[in-house]
Amino acid sequence: MESMTQTQSDFQIGASALADRLMAGERPFVLDVRNRDEFERWRLEGRDGPLEAVNQPYFEMFDYLEGDDVVGALATYAERHLTDRLPREGEILVVCAKGDTSDLVAQALRRLGYRAVNLAGGMVAWGNFYRFALVEQGERLTLLQGQRIARGCLSYVAISRGEAVVVDPGRHLRPYEEVLRERGAKLVAVIDTHAHADHISGGPELAARLGVPYYLHPYDGIHPIDMLPAELEYDYLREGSEIGFGESKVRVLHVPGHTLGNTALVVDDRFLLTGDTIFIDSVARPDLGGQGERWAPIHYRSLRRLAELPGETVVLPGHFSKLAEADEWGIFRRELGRLRKENEGLSKLEEGEEAYIRYLLSSLPEFPEQYVEIKRVNGGLVRPDEEKASELELGKNICALAQAYQGAEGNGNPDGGDGDE
């Protein structure tokens, strides 16, 4: 691999290229030089779970620092303390928070003959990377799934005859603005299926910037724990509301349970944007509003209602838990009929309300403490700067029941248990 013609850029991999490789099932070995708690909270995952990794915080690697030779000091440290922990063959992907320190560590490893590559922009760039997958390109309707890979957040852009609706956008607006421009589409509405707890919505800002209505169900205009009304402008979604764009339309189903104002959206009677109700492997948890026991029965009834829609309905969820949930086209989608058999959270509906509520409440993963604050942000009650916003959003969403995160032998995955909020 090493040759005179290789430049520094040959040793950088960007978020987009990494996403492609991970989706394709590659599993590069990772040297993660962030803090231990940051590593434990959030690490790189391949299709089936966390990548094999060594965590060696960079700040412990300067014991041999002489003068200003940072790379030399890192190389000496690696030679004396890391060689028995790193694979001699194959590629080592070096990662840190922002991609600068890991670049120096990768340079040091290459001096020792390792095939070390830097994740450009680090975990921040990885966490903020979005890509769009084409779900449908028909004469009347074009539907794209916006995938924020690192966080497991999915959003949608639906376009008909040049008019577009954006559903559940993440807080970075540029990816959506670029898609709209590329497709020559004019935005007519932004919809949040519910008030999100795991990520900051880009909905209000995107709608304001392009001068279109922002829709939310009014029950989600109240912070469930603070009991304070949102300080933002929005139009009301309600059961049966229809929002037209071009020759297509979005029909609103009010399906409370994950939140009180939770909705699912039917696009042209074929696609079901489930938001946080039905995911591919699991269903949404009922406790992020701090009222799990009270909301579980409502959640059960909402899930039942959705499960009874026609089997050929295409489910497009608001989250995924593992890359492996994507289909062969790299899209997170399934026919509802198939999910009724394969999705544990749906198949268990048959056991009846009482058993189902027990199932829901015994399957709750940890309650990330920042989720209460994120809901404040999404209600306009708190306005964080970029660094604070980025910190709040750190890590993968935990919106599904605990089962969704299993199957990786507990390799740094949320392990459930202490729902102490």
């Binding site: 803090n35 231990r36 708690d37 940051e38 915080p57 960079y58 700040f59 412990e60 300067f62 620092l65 940072v70 840190c96 928070a97 922002k98 600068d100 320190t101 120096l104 660094e387």
Partner: protein, 87 residues
């Protein structure tokens, strides 16, 4: 961040505008100049330095982290780290 009591220091490292890993590198170099018991103040603008100095202090055997302060300077945040050399 801990209480904002004025802390005396013997040496200061200016890491304003420097990104990771330079605040730690500069601090590592400066610690060599100090005698045990003396205090180093690191002035950084990189917010990531807060957690990094905490993590570093936990594993390092030659200094302790006395305090970390957050202050405003000309509209930007400064992160002040106070390290006392112990060995």
């Amino acid at each position: 961040m801990s209480d904002q009591v004025e802390i005396q220091f013997d040496l200061e490292v200016d890491a304003r505008g420097l990104s990771c890993p330079m605040p730690v590198v500069k601090a590592r170099q400066a610690l060599k100049e100090l005698e045990p018991g003396q205090v180093l103040r690191v002035v950084a603008t990189d917010r990531g330095s807060i957690k990094d100095f905490q993590g570093w202090a936990q594993s390092a055997s030659d200094f302790e982290l006395l305090a970390q302060h957050e202050v405003e300077e000309e509209g930007r945040k400064l992160y002040l780290h106070y390290l006392r050399k112990t060995a």
